[in-house]
Symmetry: C2
Subunit: 328 residues, 2 copies
């Protein structure tokens, strides 16, 4: 599909950021000349959290800026890392002297640009740490990554590290909590239709009417295996089985489960997938402590979903439950 | 597109309802043998609110069952009215002696079946009232309706009448508040791609790569006018202009604005449309009191959006702001 409800392709990001700001003026402000949204009222003395990346993953990351989650989000062009100077700008905006944690999805461009921004901030004596989210179990290396990619599990890092910072913990503790989430969160995705970048002539890959793409990422890159379409229960079963083999879960373990739509998937399909995921986990004696069904980390209008499991412990449960301004 | 992430088409609704229940066990319970979800803890003495309709509009209506909004939602087959006996079952579940308000979207089948259920409940001496939402300004009559259709504006009726009931108001007052919302809410939609009902061979209509359909409903029915695709700013301008001519707004009037995705539209596009809607309203001196951008009343995987304006007064603002369990 070539049609989009946009104006000029080159303006999609700045117009979208303006639209996000206008819808959330009680909560957000916008930095002039940058595609950055910042919490309107920053908490003095709190460790600040920033995240960002290419656009096209909405609500990530601007949708997670608010009390108890992120302090700022930096948006690059569609599927393109934000520049170091924009990230540096965000760091300066949110630092209140207690340091800044950058939550970075593992893509080569993002990692490089966030690191450069941290170096720029270091010259201003701002303490900056970064954590690299790599929850996607589909690929080891990819066109865009050394090591595993960061996908929907990133939202759990925002929530839990955000709650840790909100408690008044210091930067070292916020980093270690974020690392704990990263260690315990795994994701895998599937698509039945690809997406098209605004202004591009073609979709990022193509599938016949009978094919699905397993192991997709969130930048429209093709997945790891093309398979014939089958019942979603079987697809969910394959994904859950792979996720379980990656996490050290036993009977009575508790998890948070996320069924994430990729942008073009109706909620009906996500709920049907959720039903099967719950059944499979129950069969294994694993308790689902909290379930998230909706769009959290998308890939434009891609039709598909990803399943994320986060292994919980009492500390992570408390932080996951902590109050936040964001509808999650 | 024919592919869907489902199992057997005949099971989509029951499997979806099971998935909704499993994701929200803290808030919901499910009625055996019916596709009905009910609030887990009903408030004794409160006027109860129920809604429902065909499936395929998720999160409507099950997603709005919770403290401060609905007490139960009844789901029919895809794009098909729920049966009178199912609606009657929901009425009996939620009535606590103070009466029940049914919020019904104006479709012939829905109106008829909800009315029959109310008659069945009357024989049990349950007091039942209904309001008919008809916010869609696109058509006067349609294939499915006498009079205007009920679409995304219904969510404002759930929210505001729900808050009125939560305050402890009696059935008469809850009805009159719901009627006040209905009188002041108007919607119009556009699609760039249709949807396909599970199990159907074809999409509900078809569009070329250059066409859009103005005035669409939420059951995949074609709209009122086929136009050439143009910049979304122009599309939003046409819609807002029509909505304004329907509402008695003047300078300093306040409105709630909803940019509703139809199921397959990326959030990026909805935010770009929101930017233009805000600009146009500001030019008219109309203040946007609250903005809703996201998926509220969908049509499976249809790509498109609708714009809703609700004219506010101090009473409606207070009810719109009232606390609710639902993320809205």
């Amino acid at each position: 599909m070539k049609k989009k409800l946009i104006n000029k392709p080159e303006n999609v990001v700045s117009e979208m950021i303006e639209g996000i700001y206008l819808a959330n003026q009680d909560r957000l402000r916008k930095i002039d000349n940058f595609n950055i949204v910042v919490r309107k009222e920053l908490s003095a003395g709190k460790v600040a959290l920033i995240s960002g990346g290419g656009s096209g993953h909405e609500p990530a990351h601007a949708g997670y800026v608010g009390r108890g989650m992120l302090d700022a989000a930096v948006s690059g062009a569609v599927f393109t890392s934000p520049t170091p100077d924009a990230i540096y700008e965000a760091i300066k905006e949110v630092d209140s002297g207690s340091g800044v944690l950058m939550v970075v999805k593992n893509y080569t461009g993002d990692v490089m640009n966030f690191e450069m921004a941290a170096e720029m901030a270091a010259m201003d004596d701002i303490e900056v740490e970064q954590v690299i989210v790599n929850d996607d179990i589909a690929v080891e290396d990819s066109l865009y990554t050394t090591g595993r990619r960061g996908v929907a599990g990133t939202v759990f890092v925002h929530k839990i590290a955000g709650a840790e910072a909100e408690k008044g913990s210091d930067l070292k503790k916020v980093v270690s909590t974020a690392e704990k989430v990263i260690k315990n969160v795994k994701t895998k995705g599937v698509a039945i239709n690809p997406c098209r970048v605004p202004g591009a002539e073609k979709s990022t890959f193509s599938l016949s009417e009978k094919e699905i793409e397993m192991g997709i990422g969130i930048h429209g890159e093709p997945g790891t295996e093309r398979q014939e379409i089958r019942e979603v229960d079987q697809i969910v079963e394959a994904i859950i089985s792979e996720l379980l083999s990656e996490l050290d879960l036993r009977e009575e373990s508790e998890v948070a489960l996320m069924i994430n739509g990729m942008g073009g998937t109706p909620l009906m399909e996500l709920y049907i997938a959720n039903r099967k995921a719950h059944q499979l986990l129950e069969e294994q004696g694993i308790a689902v402590y909290k379930t998230y069904v909706g769009e959290y980390m998308t890939s434009l209008e891609m039709a598909g979903l990803s399943v994320t499991l986060l292994k919980l412990d009492p500390e992570l449960k408390e932080l996951l439950d902590a109050e936040t301004e964001i509808n999650l």
